[in-house]
Symmetry: C2
């Protein structure tokens, strides 16, 4: 079973601005309590896998932990270096020694995690290039950033998808769900 | 009044593949006679402006001219070099000496063309960078190309848009209409 990407991008395909910032995500008002379908999505995955940069960006939000930690599923942080897990996140966040995407996928499958939510630019690009992504759930924010951290990278071959569903959220965001055609 | 971009891209934001090809656009079946709203759109613009490469790509389709020429509005081909217009396209296609986007926009306005359909990667990027685009009508084809000719380029500043409308076409394409927030 393939894995899934669930992420917001600018119209020009960036997931963070030139400084790695995410403030532009808030250019669209998000009424309190509206999770835009995230709870339903996260219920359908077994675990998350992300790189150390993405994890650090999350920690830098200065969330109240563990109350505001957004993930009810185990989060595996891929890193060549030791990863510091705050006491409040013990049992929620785990370090995972770096490996190629197929190796990571296999090791997490052995732990019972078949369907992974793959997050973070470099991790997503690696899993896509390894042909391990079956679903893309992309939310487009109506802004051109003109530079930043791109979601997608080079692929050896094109990958065709089918559209499962598309909807407008908050009158501003276009959220589209794609499934790989194999 | 600003100008408008109407174009199809891959999910990773390319308008042509690595060889400049457009075959991937046909990865989605398009029932004969369904113009996907193009006729209504083109009725609302005064003229088209495109670069020589885009014009040449059009000619290379070996359309039956003038019968299959897709544009009922004047097409201005921006070029530093002379542009060859086939006899069948006289009165439909005009050469326009290269200039910066604002100069082009001003000259076409003097000819009575207020609202331009701006086409072709480099021309679109130039008009966007010059803050001359007010509307984006983007149709996403459900494929990752993994490389090719990107639609968007660098901008000095982010540009915010509002979503006017989004719809699914042929059960496969997501067509979204954005208007610049000024």
């Amino acid at each position: 079973m393939g894995h899934v990407v669930y992420i917001a991008t600018s119209l020009d395909g960036y997931i963070a601005d030139r400084d790695g910032g995410l403030d532009w995500l808030h250019s669209v008002p998000n009424p309190e309590g509206d999770d835009l379908g995230f709870a339903e999505f996260i219920a359908g995955v077994d675990a998350l896998v992300m790189g150390r940069n993405t994890y650090q960006t999350l920690l830098d939000f200065d969330l109240e932990l563990p109350a505001q930690w957004p993930y009810p599923k185990p989060v595996y942080v891929v890193s060549r270096q030791p990863v510091t897990v705050p006491a409040a996140l013990e049992g929620k966040v785990f370090a995972l020694a770096a490996d190629d995407p197929r190796g990571l996928s296999d090791r997490l499958a052995e732990l019972g995690h078949q369907r992974l939510y793959v997050d973070g630019g470099r991790t997503i690009q690696g899993f896509l290039a390894a042909e391990l992504i079956d679903e893309l759930i992309l939310t487009q924010i109506p802004i051109l950033l003109g530079g930043g951290v791109p979601l997608f990278g080079a692929l050896a071959e094109p990958q065709a998808f089918e559209l499962v569903h598309s909807e407008v959220l908050l009158g501003a965001l276009v959220k589209s769900h794609y499934r790989r055609r194999r």
